[in-house]
């Protein structure tokens, strides 16, 4: 294990000391020295994730994909924009923007609560044994974090203004392992802000936080893969599988107009089971959104989608706040 760690941190230190550190020094940004070092690791982990998607998940999709027979040049173009989202996210462009916006807010939050005397609790003190096992401790914080992510996701579907942003994620007709990062930047900022504050509040370690995000995002990428895979009756309830999450992206119809208000969990389906939003019984269905305005996101590039969704967001800021009461909710030709 240690040789692997040495290889990893050696590459990280080399990249940082050769490329980043001299730049920070020259630009008088040395107060960001430590965060920048961690950012290098984040980008390296992003490269690993991209490699996992491209070299492992996509070949599985091509071999076992539900929709492989029907894919044409037009549909490939739909998938292409998701690759742009993935690259921007995994290689640090979007996270940097999120950091610039979120950091002062999370910092202020931490400042306020800690000056008031609040210190983040430690699960290790509440649960005997966690202190003795790094893995158990990591999993405990992972479960907590995923619990928060579940409720954030429900909020994305519940509030009209947030749905206006999140609907971009659902507008993809061709859901693949690249789709996980297809989000509006403002949506990314909001989600990450809430989860970062939550993580601070419950005392997630910075090191654990990075690992939780990376492992979580890998699971989420795989759960978007266009394959009909589940992990058995028990496994399907322990870890989100592609079949489970595909239902969340299912195209609604008259019989089930709210089908994607199910299976919200990112990693652990237990939250859907506990809070009554789990569906395990549905066979594979087409994916997409039954709204002509939202469906029109397809076929546009990254910038075009960002602009369209921002306009949708501004319109949605006005009442009513329930997404189901949004105007222009017309059925698409596909539904």
């Amino acid at each position: 294990m240690r040789p692997l760690i040495d290889l990893w941190v050696g590459a990280q230190a080399w990249a940082f000391e050769t490329l980043v550190s001299p730049l920070l020094f020259a630009l008088d940004l040395m107060e960001w020295y430590e965060p920048a070092f961690n950012a290098v690791e984040f980008v390296m982990l992003g490269l690993v994730q991209i490699a996992m998607i491209a070299l492992v998940m996509r070949p599985i999709e091509r071999r076992f994909g539900i929709e492989k027979a029907g894919i044409g040049r037009g549909e490939e173009r739909l998938v292409g924009v998701d690759r742009v989202y993935t690259a921007l996210n995994k290689l640090g462009v979007v996270p940097l923007l999120v950091f610039v916006v979120a950091y002062p807010i999370t910092n202020e939050f931490e400042y306020l609560v800690r000056v008031l005397g609040f210190a983040p609790p430690r699960l290790e003190r509440l649960i005997p044994g966690l202190y003795d096992s790094a893995l158990a401790s990591f999993l405990a914080y992972f479960v907590l974090y995923d619990f928060a992510a579940y409720w954030v996701h429900r909020a994305q579907h519940r509030f009209g203004w947030w749905w206006a942003l999140h609907s971009l994620h659902h507008s993809q007709r061709r859901v693949t392992a690249w789709t996980d990062d297809r989000n509006h930047i403002l949506d990314d900022v909001l989600v990450n802000l809430v989860l970062a504050v939550f993580a601070q509040f419950v005392g997630v370690q910075p090191d654990d936080f990075v690992l939780i995000v990376v492992v979580g995002r890998l699971v989420e990428s795989f759960s978007h893969a266009g394959i009909d895979l589940c992990f058995g009756p028990l496994g399907a309830r322990l870890l989100v599988a592609p079949r489970f999450h595909r239902l969340h992206h299912a195209l609604a119809d008259a019989q089930e107009p709210h089908i994607h208000d199910h299976n919200f969990a990112a990693v652990f389906p237990i939250w859907d089971v506990l809070f009554g939003t789990a569906r395990f019984d549905t066979p594979p269905r087409p994916t997409g959104i039954d709204d002509r305005e939202i469906d029109a996101d397809n076929g546009r590039g990254w910038l075009g989608q960002q602009a369209r969704v921002f306009r949708r967001f501004v319109v949605a800021l006005a009442p009513p706040t329930d997404r189901h009461a949004l105007p222009n909710r017309e059925p698409t030709a596909r539904s």
């Binding site: 040495d6 020094f25 107060e31 202190y131 370690q205």
Partner: protein, 327 residues
Amino acid sequence: MNSAFIAALALVLGASTLARADQVIVLNSEEASYSVLSRSQRAEVQRLPLGREPHHLIQTPDGKEVLIASTVTNELVALDTKTGERKRTIPGIVDAYQLGFSPDGKWFVTASYRLDHVDIYRYDGTTFTLANRTFTGGMPSHLTFGTDSKTVFVSLQQSSRVVAFDLATQAIKWNMEVGKVPAGLVMLPDNKRLLVALTGEDAVVMLDPATGIMTGRLQTGRGAHNFWPKGDGRYWFLSNRVEGTISLIDTQEMKVDSTVRVPGGPDCMDITPDGKELWVTQRFLRRIAILDLATLKLTGSIPVGKSPHGVFILKTPVMPMRAAAND
């Protein structure tokens, strides 16, 4: 029979204590743990959980405890200096990133890097009583004291300033701009020269501690960061984080005597009790480097946890075996 039994017992106890005195404590700041290393084995022998983001540690004035500051949990964790065993936890010490005792042992000061304040505590040998909290802004990072225990100097990394507090009144004596990203500070034994390492530059500046006015400048290495005394009052080690070197500074001549390459963002240091080795945390490599002071060459690098920051070498205790033998 009785004395033989006592001698045997002392031998066992002595061996155990000596083994612990062989230990080095390293704080793994980004994984909530500290590593216990064996100097003789040159290896990590244990990794123990500790609070959240432990960065720095210091010995109490009576030498009995090592206090580790767990910044995010607002507490100090005290280890026995001789055995390395955890003795107590002191709550309510808020965001103690950097910490220090005045030379007379009556004042305890912490720099709160994230929460932007400097706390001055009265210390009676056991308890810490907050005398004053000053919100300075600018990320307070390192601190040092006047040799007369009347003043504490704190560097503010973000605002490029150093601020001096009168300990008796806790009032600010001066607050001066000194250069980019000031970090480590050291007061020289004459109490008339205050050195400040500039991490945003490649230099150390000298200040008049009475006024904060700059009186000198010495070019060292890029990312000049932290000091550690060689022990003779004249020579000081300085870590240059960006350049990846350690400079040995002659403060009498005010020149760099020698420079050694230590890769991986070298930061905090400590010297072995025999004065033969300098141990340096390599923040980026998750290792601690060992520098032979006779040859000024790296002789080892021991793997530890993530972002190792503070380091403390437990000191050799009195040997019980010798006491028994003398009887």
